[in-house]
Symmetry: D2
Subunit: 273 residues, 4 copies
Amino acid sequence: MSLNGYSLPRSPLGEANLVPAPPWHYVGDFLVIDYWADPEAVAAVLPPGLEPLPDDPGACAALFVDWQSCSDGGEELTDPSRSQYKEFFVVVNALLDGEQVTTCPYIWVDQDFALARGWVQGFPKKLGDIWITRAFDLNVTAAPGLAAGSRIGGTCSARGRRLAEGCVTLTGPSDGGPVHNDAPLVNVRYFPRLAAGRHESPAVHELVRAKSYDRSISQVWEGDAELELFAAPGEEHAALAPTRVGKGYRFTFAYTIDDLESVRSYAAEEVSS
Amino acid sequence: MSLNGYSLPRSPLGEANLVPAPPWHYVGDFLVIDYWADPEAVAAVLPPGLEPLPDDPGACAALFVDWQSCSDGGEELTDPSRSQYKEFFVVVNALLDGEQVTTCPYIWVDQDFALARGWVQGFPKKLGDIWITRAFDLNVTAAPGLAAGSRIGGTCSARGRRLAEGCVTLTGPSDGGPVHNDAPLVNVRYFPRLAAGRHESPAVHELVRAKSYDRSISQVWEGDAELELFAAPGEEHAALAPTRVGKGYRFTFAYTIDDLESVRSYAAEEVSS
Amino acid sequence: MSLNGYSLPRSPLGEANLVPAPPWHYVGDFLVIDYWADPEAVAAVLPPGLEPLPDDPGACAALFVDWQSCSDGGEELTDPSRSQYKEFFVVVNALLDGEQVTTCPYIWVDQDFALARGWVQGFPKKLGDIWITRAFDLNVTAAPGLAAGSRIGGTCSARGRRLAEGCVTLTGPSDGGPVHNDAPLVNVRYFPRLAAGRHESPAVHELVRAKSYDRSISQVWEGDAELELFAAPGEEHAALAPTRVGKGYRFTFAYTIDDLESVRSYAAEEVSS
Amino acid sequence: MSLNGYSLPRSPLGEANLVPAPPWHYVGDFLVIDYWADPEAVAAVLPPGLEPLPDDPGACAALFVDWQSCSDGGEELTDPSRSQYKEFFVVVNALLDGEQVTTCPYIWVDQDFALARGWVQGFPKKLGDIWITRAFDLNVTAAPGLAAGSRIGGTCSARGRRLAEGCVTLTGPSDGGPVHNDAPLVNVRYFPRLAAGRHESPAVHELVRAKSYDRSISQVWEGDAELELFAAPGEEHAALAPTRVGKGYRFTFAYTIDDLESVRSYAAEEVSS
C-alpha cells in the first residue's frame, strides 16, 4: 500500500490532498489596472537575476480576479467551495537575460487550495478577503453592465486591514488590453528549511517561468482607473503604491496549467555557500 | 441633534446603520429547484392564517441565489463587501384567504446587512455559507455555460454542517420558468420581547406580503434537478426534505423593494390574550 | 400545530430559532479601557431622554470581550460554535432623569446568534472580527500572564477595515476596577418598518434598561492603556476617538439575563406625530 | 539589495513573510482523546519506513487544540489575529527502526500562518473551522470548570462539512496524561513539482522528527471520552474512525520550536528512480 496525491495530505486513495493533480483549468473575471510605482521600490522586490526595466522601471499592474477552477473531470465545479476563489496581486516588470518579464511580489487569496496551488507555482500567496463588483445578464441598477460609465471596484483586506482598493470607470471596448501584465511571468518557488542552522538555506529556491495553454479571452473593456495601496503591519506592498495610474481593464480570461519551467536554481548556489 | 438611519446603529450622520434606507435594488443569479415535501411537514411550518394547498399540499421550491444589491446612489457597488451576498432558502405553497401564496420557513445568508434586511421583510435569516456554480463569458472547461449538459450546483452550510445540496443539469431554455415559487410571497415579521413574563408575547408579529417593482428577468434555462436537505442540530429544515424533485431552473432576476404590505397582525391578538 | 421558538425562524419543534429562549448565561474575559472623547461627540450619540453628564461629559469606555454563553441546559457549550463569540463596543456616560447611566452607541460581534440576541436587548450590533490576547494556565513566552508587565491587546475590524485597537500593560491588581462602564446600562430597542411612507416610523423604538443576576467577577488587574479608533466608510464610531486615555482593566465576568425593563417608549410619540 | 524573510513572500524588509523566522513559541489548551482505529486503516496512512505497532496496531489520538503563538519579541501577541489559531488533528502510532513513534496523517487549522508553518514541519494542514469549549476563571453556568462532571467539547469542520466531534466528561486529575500521542512525532515534509512529467517527483519529500524545548505542562485532567469522525468528499480521515475510545484529557501545554531533524530522504530515492 502507498500514499497517494499531488499535495499534502497524501492518503491511501489520493483524494484528501489539498491540491489535486494537474492539469488545472481556470476561468476568471479580471479587473486589471496598469500603473507605475517608485522605480526603486520596484527594483527592491526583484528576485536575483532580474534587472529593472531600463525604459520603464516603475511599470506595475494591480489585478483583482474572481476565479473558478477545477481539475480534470471537473467535479469541483458543482461543489463550488472547492472551485471558486478571489485574489488580488501586483506584478512588476523587469528584464531577465535581456527579455522583458513580469514577476509577482505580493498576492492574497481567499481559499486554502488556491493558496497551496499558488505556492507550487511560485506565487507568494497569503490569505485575504477580496471583493470585485460583478456584472450580470441584466442591465439594472444593481448591476453595472459592461458599458460606458459603469464602475467596477475591487478591494483586498487581510487580517482585518484594508490593503488595496481599485476602481475602473469603463469608457469602451479596448483595442489592446492591459500592457503592464503582458510580459511572460516569472516567479520564485521557495520552501524553507527548519533544521537548525539552515533556516536561511531553503529546501526549494528557484526562479520559474509560468506555462499555460488553452488560453482564451473575452472582449476587453477599458476605462479610467483609480488605485490605492494601504500600509499595514506585516505587509510591504504599500512601497509599491502608485505614483501614476494608467488605464483599467475588465475582461474574462481562461487557461489551463500543468507545467512550469525552471529558469534558475538559487538553492544550488546557497548550498555551495 | 438627533440620531439618524433606517436601522441600528442609528448615528449622528445616519451612515453607520447596518441597513441603509430603502429603496433596495437587487440583482441575482438564481438556481431554483421545484420539489415536493411531505404535506404534513409543509403544513407544520405554515404561519397562522395559512392553509395547506388543497390540490398540491407538498409543493416547495429550493432557491440558491448569488446576489448583488445596493441602495439609491449605488455606492455599495464599488465596495462589494457591502453589496454582494449569497443565500439559500426554501419556500412552501399554501392558501391565504383562498389565494395561493408562498412562504419562507428557513433561509440562510452570508452577510450581516442582508440578514438584518431580511428580518425587516419577514425572512427568518440565519448566517450560513452558500456556494453556487458560476457562469462566465467564455465557454471553457472551468465554466459550465448556459448550455445543454452544463451542471450548476448549489450548497448551503451553517455552523460547520452541510444543510443542503442541489444540482441542475441544464437541458435547454425554459418556456415557463419555475412554478413552485411563483405565487405571491407572504412572510412573518417577528421581533421578540425580553421583559420577564412576556417572552412569548413578541413586540412585532405580523403576516406581511412582499411588494416589489422594476422586476426584470433574463432568459430562463431549465434542466433535471437533484436536491438533498440534511438534518443538523438546531435546524428543522430537513423535515422538508424532498419526496419528489421536479425541474431545476437557472436565470438572472432583478427587482427593487421599498414597501411591504401588512396582511394580518398577530401581535394584537396576543396582546388581548 | 403551531410554530415555536423565541426568535426567528420559528418552527414546529422550536429548535431552529437563532436565539433560544432566555435565560441566557454568559461568561467572558474583559479588556476594558476607560477613556474620554470629545463631549460634543458623546452628546451627539445620546438617544432622546439622555443628557450629557455635567461633571464629566466625555467619559467613555471601550470593551473587548471574549464570551462563552448558553441557555438553560447548556447544550451549546459542547458545540462551541453555538456558544463562543467575541465583541467590541463603546459605552458613553450620560444622565437619565438625573441618574448617571451608560449607553452603547456602537458594537461589533462575530456570531449571528449574538448579533440577534443583542438586537433584542437594544445593542446595535453589526458583524466584525474581534481578537483579544488570551491568558493561559502557564507562565510562558507565548502567554502573557496576569502579571505586571504583561501586555493584553484587543482589535476590531469589520468589512475588511480596522476599526479599533487597544492595549493594556498590566501593573497590578486593581482596587476598584473600571469606572466608565460602571453606571447602569440603557439601550435603544429598534425594529424598522418597511411599509411605504412609514420608513421613519419604526415598529419598535424604546429605551430599555438592562437587568441581570447571578453576577460574579474575578480578581481585576489594571494597567496603562492605549486606544485608537479608526474611521471607515459606513462607520461613525471614530467621532468618539479618545482625547485622553485612562486606565485599562482585565478580568473575567459572568451573569445571567432573562429580563429587560422598558424605560420609555419612543414609538408612541412617533405614532402620535 | 536583497529579499528577506523566512517564508514567502520574501520582501525588502523581511516583514511581509507569512511565517516569521523561528524560534516559534507556542502555548495551547489541549483536548486529547486516546482511541483505537482499524489497524489496517492505520497501516494504510503510514509513510514509507514506518511499520505497524506490533502490540497495539490501532492506537490513535485525536487532538483539538486552542493555540496562541509568537516569534521572538512576541509582537504578534497584542495583534492576536497573527498569534491565535485552533486546530484538530489525528496521530497514529507506528514503529520506525524499532522505536515507537507517532505520525500525523490529517490536520486542519483555521489560520494561514499556522497552515504554512505546519507544512514546513511536515504537518499536512488544510484550513478548517475548529471550536473547543473554554474554561474561565469563574465557576459559573456558562463555564465548565476543570472539575469532575464538566464536559469539554471539540468540533472540526471544513468546506462546510462536519469532520469530527469529540467530548470529554472530566472525572478528576490524571496521573499520567494521554498515552497515544506520547511517542516521538515524525512527519513527512513534502513540496510538489509542477514541471511536466515530474508531478510525481516532489521537490521535497523527507521524513522528519520534531524537536522542541522549553516544554511545560499544566495539571492534566482526565475523563470519559466520546469521538466521532465523519466522512466527507475530498477527505479520508473517516477511515480512521474509532473502533474503541479510551480516556480523554484536558491540559495546557507550551513549547518552543526552532529545529527539525531529517530522518530519511524519500526524494533522493525518487530522483534515482
